[in-house]
């Protein structure tokens, strides 16, 4: 590809590349144009995100191409591998453009049918369409699905739309226009002012105003400054940053360059965990392409601004998402936080002023520059502007990645977008903010969510993990699960996090094993408070949140565990009792024969009995009983 040496070159390329994405854009705009092979200009989008790839989406794309070739349509119909569509529950996804048909759970063997029936025959393959669980009717257009209806995709705008491995497609979608605008028509201070006015706040967790961070870094005097992209997505279950890097890597690169221009940095670094191989591959390709066409490197777009980006790999430590720990890790030191101040904006990587933003934050920047601060600031709540990406997981029908405007309620997310609780069970709690967040309940469902309201409710925005729990989830076990994670992931530097979290875990473990006392509950509360009060970094200060929020919201459940030895969710095995109803048992001996520890006694054709001292609560008896005589108490 030729070097892009000026804004005019960039514009020319955008015009030229427009044709590549025309059919997609028509579809997005609701053209509802026909999509038969004869008219041409048709595109098949196949999800190439990590999830769908694991379900053979690469093979699907190949089979689609084969089927098209067979029909002689290989030149008129494009097959494009895109980033994640978000609706992972229903993946692999294949979308047909411009008629906007959304096929779900596609298998490689469905490829020929899609081509033959839909592309050639003009008839949609009904069985692959999404079925609305309420109306039981098939919905062919994503726009009419509950999952997408309330979403607003800004950071994810290009994910599931363009081929992340082709810079032309990004350029066709206004890519690098924001950088061009900044370099040719704006002073660095104007860029910072625009980002400040947009109200964008850090999407990595703490919600620090992005523009302010840029301003502080820009004012730090140094011979070298750095822009760092925090791609160390550590929350279990959260994958928005990975999806952005896999689906739209150029948006991150462009934003980093804009940040570099604004703060006066010529070097950018992406700290990414080595366990994200696809994201690494796509970022590396994107960086190489950007360099090839002069959008990274010396004198970008013929201006005096030079900027380049390197990758730094992390070994997958949760604490390295904390910016000082991240910087130490990049420097080759032990990944552990240090006290702030000094903040990285004053003394960061190699002691130089460093601006650290996370992937999702960066992905918002080009759009904000293009559409203006006012446009962005009009979305969201008073203090939290724009949208937020959440990773929906747990006992919810529509697992996936969603982007919604700030101020939406948990109820809308869980029951509309998420499609409610799996299996028609009762909603119990939702954990937001990852392992350091808190569990929110029924009473929090109608709070408009933003940084402040989540914190006030005893949880946090975090990076946007959202795990839904139903009545079968024991809240003590949930707290224990998260503590297990923080115990593993603590760096061990400060006492409260190193030893305190371990002790929290041990007390929770004791409670789930039926050995807890009321005294333990009070000790749990005190210790959780002290850890929150005294830990060195954000990880330690928030790690007791799952304990504190469950203690606050589910105190009765804790008390039941210790005073009645009861786990209402039936999850704490030590608290369970398997019992045989003598009135129902016919003495078939099936349970006794299958008990691995010979805990069941009884004569043939006589009611059997479980010896509770021997029983290991494996559940083998209940499975074997044909008479429903065994129950869990």
């Amino acid at each position: 590809m030729d070097k892009i040496k000026s804004l005019d070159d960039l514009r020319a390329l955008r015009e030229a590349a427009g044709a590549i994405v025309r059919s997609r854009r028509q579809g997005e705009e609701g053209a509802q144009a026909g999509c038969d092979g004869a008219s041409g200009g048709c595109t098949l989008l196949v999800c190439g995100g990590t999830g769908c790839k694991a379900s053979q989406s690469a093979l699907i794309a190949e089979r689609l191409k084969d089927a098209l070739t067979e029909k002689g349509l290989e030149d008129t119909v494009q097959v494009v591998t895109t980033g994640c569509f978000g609706f992972c529950e229903k993946g692999p996804i294949v979308k047909v453009m411009p008629d906007n048909t959304f096929y779900t759970q596609v298998k490689p063997e469905d490829a020929a049918e899609i081509v033959n029936e839909h592309i050639v025959g003009g008839n949609k393959v009904t069985r692959l369409l999404y079925e609305d669980p309420g109306t039981r009717t098939h919905v062919s257009d994503a726009k009419h699905m509950d999952f997408y209806r309330k979403q607003m995709r800004i950071a994810l705008r290009n994910c599931g739309f363009l081929d992340p491995e082709r810079i032309e497609e990004y350029i066709a979608c206004d890519g690098y226009a924001a950088l061009g605008k900044c370099l040719t028509a704006m002073q660095p201070a104007e860029v910072i002012d625009l980002v400040k006015r947009s109200g964008l706040r850090g999407r990595g967790g703490a919600g620090f105003p992005t523009g302010l961070k840029w301003e502080i870094t820009s004012k730090s005097q140094a011979d070298q400054k750095y822009v760092v992209c925090n791609a160390d997505e550590g929350d279990p279950g959260a994958f928005m940053d990975r999806s952005i890097m896999e689906g739209d890597p150029h948006s991150v690169i462009e934003a980093m360059a804009i940040c570099g221009y604004a703060i006066g940095a010529t070097k950018g670094l992406v700290y990414i965990r080595a366990e994200y191989p696809l994201a690494i591959e796509r970022l590396q390709k994107a960086i190489a392409q950007a360099r090839d066409c002069g959008l990274l490197g010396e004198k970008i777009l013929g201006t005096g601004f030079s900027f380049d980006i390197e990758l730094r790999f992390g070994a997958g430590a949760f604490v390295c998402g904390e910016e000082t720990a991240l910087i130490h890790s990049m420097e080759g030191k032990r990944g552990e936080p240090t006290l702030k101040p000094p903040f990285p904006s004053v003394s960061g990587y190699l002691g130089k002023p460093t601006n650290v933003n996370n992937v999702e934050t960066f992905a918002n920047i080009p759009v904000i520059i293009n559409k203006g601060a006012e446009w962005f600031a009009a979305i969201g709540t008073e203090k939290s502007k724009g949208t937020k990406v959440f990773a929906l997981a747990g006992k919810i029908n529509n697992v996936g990645l969603i982007e919604v405007p700030m101020g939406i309620t948990l109820r809308e997310i869980i029951f509309e977008i998420g499609g409610g609780i799996k299996g028609g069970k009762k909603f119990k709690a939702v954990q937001t903010g990852g392992p350091s967040g808190g569990c929110l309940t029924e009473k929090h469902l109608d709070i408009p969510i933003d940084y402040e309201s989540l914190t006030a409710a005893g949880s946090m925005m975090g990076s946007g993990g959202m795990i839904v729990m139903d009545e079968d989830d024991c809240m003590v076990s949930v707290a224990k699960f998260y503590l297990d994670f923080t115990v593993e992931e603590s760096c061990g530097k400060c006492t409260p996090c190193r030893i305190g979290n371990k002790r929290l875990y041990e007390i929770l473990d004791k409670i789930t094993k039926g050995k807890g006392t009321m005294d333990d509950l009070h000790r749990l509360k005190n210790l959780a408070q002290v850890i929150k009060d005294t830990a060195l970094c954000g990880l330690g200060q928030t790690s007791p949140n799952p304990v504190l929020s469950t203690l606050n919201n589910f105190w009765d459940e804790y008390v039941e565990h210790v005073t009645e030895s009861k786990c209402r969710a039936g999850q704490c095995r030590a608290l369970m009792r398997y019992e045989i109803d003598p009135a129902v048992c016919v003495g078939c001996t099936a349970c006794a024969r299958n008990c691995p520890v010979s805990a069941i006694e009884g004569e043939k054709k006589q009611p059997h009995k479980i010896n509770q001292d021997v029983c290991i609560k494996c559940g083998a008896c209940i499975e074997k009983c044909k008479f429903n005589a065994i129950s869990i108490k």
Partner: protein
């Protein structure tokens, strides 16, 4: 700026921490990981232990006083209920993962965690649970009992930042995090120089010396053995601290009396060997200088002192290209051993293997040094046992001696006589000052009237001074602390600095701050008092130049002939090895 701490107003300069401001008001906020030797520019401030947390009005969390800077109008409470509860909980957490074997711990009575628990009146540990267990690491000098590590990181700061040795760093995560050599290898496989500065700084019993007192008692009670003892200069200005005396109290006479009372057959002085070292090293320096000034450019200059065994280890690891630069003179400890097991053993008619040489050293590396193969004859070491000042104090206590009230006694002869030059070996700058006193007279042929060289004294980490040898300027470099030694040596290696002689002592402050000295718990004033005491002891000596030591002269007349003689070379000089593999394996 003004702020309020516990309802009292403090006025401080910008950059003052809350801890310092409180101290100024006489408010003693407890600390644990924090460690600061102001005069030596040594600071460990990871903010990790969270013991010093205080409440700052308007702040969501408690703030660590050690690393929170004062701000105008700040309102601080150091003992509110919230603070007291948090502080106690944090200490209980530390105790919950710490062996409760205080009764038999090497650090008992000197343990800062123990003191803290006592200060806070901890009577029970509310948060019991799993405890960490690691294997004990026994090196020739230092014992690592990692179960007692509280992750204060002081040792790491000493080893990495101050000494630039890099043997210790935090490993593992979370509950399993401890400070350890890389890959949890043993200390003696690591680049550890055994300087013992980690031991000096460790607040608990995680790092202590290898205890050799039992071996000393066994030797003293073996009727077939003649046991002699030598004691290093820095011991006499620090031992008194173990018996409640003020830092800087000189206890030379009581020390000699105590050693005699312990049952040593002869009570000698390493200071004698220090004078002997000056004769050899000074002559070597003069030899190299004269050759150089006569145009022999192949001569290696500057000459480096080689008294300090941790320093020897350090340059064997890090400067394999410069092994011919240091003086080949053995350290005083080893010179003493070599002379005792030949000259003295002969004199009293005792076979080498029946003579046990014990040394009392301020140092832990000396334990390693005396085990080096090149300091043995047919497997029999020149120095059999090296114990630290602390171990000697323990021996004295075990032996029911009322140390403070012992009448002063003298050292025995012939290896007990010393000059003031031998004494100052115990402090940074002292070896080179002693060498200068002798070299000046030998070089110029004139009598040195003023023996104090103030330019060579002080506590700056790297010092460069020029001494006038009657018209010939001699340029001298001094470094204490291995990090400073590295700076100095790198400058020499890159020809940035042009020097004639360099003195290096591995420990900050010199031997007075050695790894085997009574614990000073980060109180820099203790080191200063010891340094002053060394110079006082020197001033009180009738003779202050090594070459005036009558018994040294006699040793040459009767046995060695002259400095650098073949016999002297054989007994008093050594050679160095390339141990750079210690660094490369990491």
């Amino acid at each position: 700026m003004k702020l309020t701490i516990d309802n009292r107003v403090a006025e401080v300069a910008k950059g003052t921490t809350v801890l310092e401001a409180a101290k100024g008001l006489g408010i003693d906020i407890p600390t644990l990981c924090y460690y600061h030797l102001e005069n030596l520019d040594i600071e460990n401030k990871p903010g990790g232990c969270r013991v010093c947390v205080v409440e700052v009005e308007g702040r969501r969390n408690l703030a660590p006083a050690c690393s929170t800077n004062c701000e105008e109008g700040m309102v601080v409470r150091t003992h509110s209920m919230r603070v007291l509860n948090a502080r106690r909980t944090v200490v209980e957490l530390l105790l919950s993962d710490h062996p409760a074997d205080c009764l038999v711990c090497a650090k008992s009575g000197h343990c800062e965690l123990q003191t803290l628990a006592q200060k806070l009146g901890v009577r029970e540990i509310a948060y019991q649970g799993e405890q960490s267990h690691y294997r004990k690491d026994l090196s020739p000098s230092i014992v690592r009992d990692v179960d007692k590590c509280i992750m204060c990181r002081r040792c790491e700061t000493m080893c990495n930042d101050v000494q630039t040795v890099g043997a210790l760093s935090a490993v593992n995560r979370g509950f399993n995090a401890v400070v350890s050599p890389a890959f949890e290898m043993d200390l003696d496989k690591s680049p550890c120089t055994f300087c013992g500065q980690c031991v000096t700084a460790c607040p608990t019993g995680a790092l202590t010396e290898v205890d050799h007192t039992a071996r000393v008692i066994a030797a003293l009670n073996d009727p077939t053995k003649t046991v002699v003892v030598q004691t290093a200069p820095a011991v006499r200005v620090a031992l008194g601290e173990e018996f409640g005396m003020a830092p800087g109290t000189v206890v030379t006479g009581k020390l000699a009396a105590a050693l005699r009372a312990l049952g040593f057959d002869r009570v000698f002085d390493t200071d004698f060997a220090a004078d002997l070292t000056i004769m050899e090293e000074g002559s070597e320096l003069l030899g190299r200088l004269s050759a150089f000034m006569n145009g022999d450019k192949s001569v290696k200059l500057p000459i480096l002192t080689s008294c300090c065994p941790a320093w020897v280890n350090f340059f064997e690891y890090n400067y394999p290209d410069m092994l011919d630069v240091p003086s080949s003179a053995k350290s005083p400890q080893q010179m003493f051993g070599a002379v005792a097991k030949t000259y003295f053993a002969n004199q009293i008619g005792v076979k080498r293997e029946d003579l046990v040489v014990v040394s009392v050293m301020p140092c832990l590396a000396k334990k390693y040094e005396c085990q080096r193969e090149e300091f043995k004859t047919d497997g029999n070491p020149d120095v059999d046992i090296a114990i630290s000042t602390r171990e000697l104090a323990n021996l004295i206590k075990q032996s029911n001696l009322d140390f403070a009230n012992l009448p002063d006694e003298d050292f025995d002869n012939p290896l007990g006589e010393s000059t003031g030059a031998g004494v100052i070996f115990g402090v940074t700058g002292g070896v080179i000052e002693a060498a200068t006193r002798t070299a000046y007279e030998l070089f110029t042929g004139k009598t040195l009237e003023k023996v104090e060289f103030e330019a060579l004294r002080g506590m700056d980490g790297v010092r460069v001074a020029t001494v006038d040898f009657d018209g010939t300027p001699i340029r001298i470099g001094i470094a204490h602390g291995l990090g400073h030694a590295r700076q100095l040596l790198d400058a020499v290696r890159s020809h940035e600095l042009d020097l004639h002689a360099i003195e290096v002592m591995a420990c900050p402050g010199g031997c007075i701050g050695g790894g085997g000295q009574p614990y000073h718990h980060g109180n820099a004033a203790v080191l200063e008092a010891r340094a002053k005491a060394i110079y006082r002891e020197d001033e009180g000596k009738a003779l202050r130049k090594s070459h005036e030591n009558e018994y040294v002269k006699r040793l040459y007349e009767e046995f060695l002939q002259h400095p650098m003689s073949e016999k002297a070379h054989h007994l008093l000089h050594t050679h160095y090895f390339d141990h750079s593999d210690k660094i490369e394996t990491i």
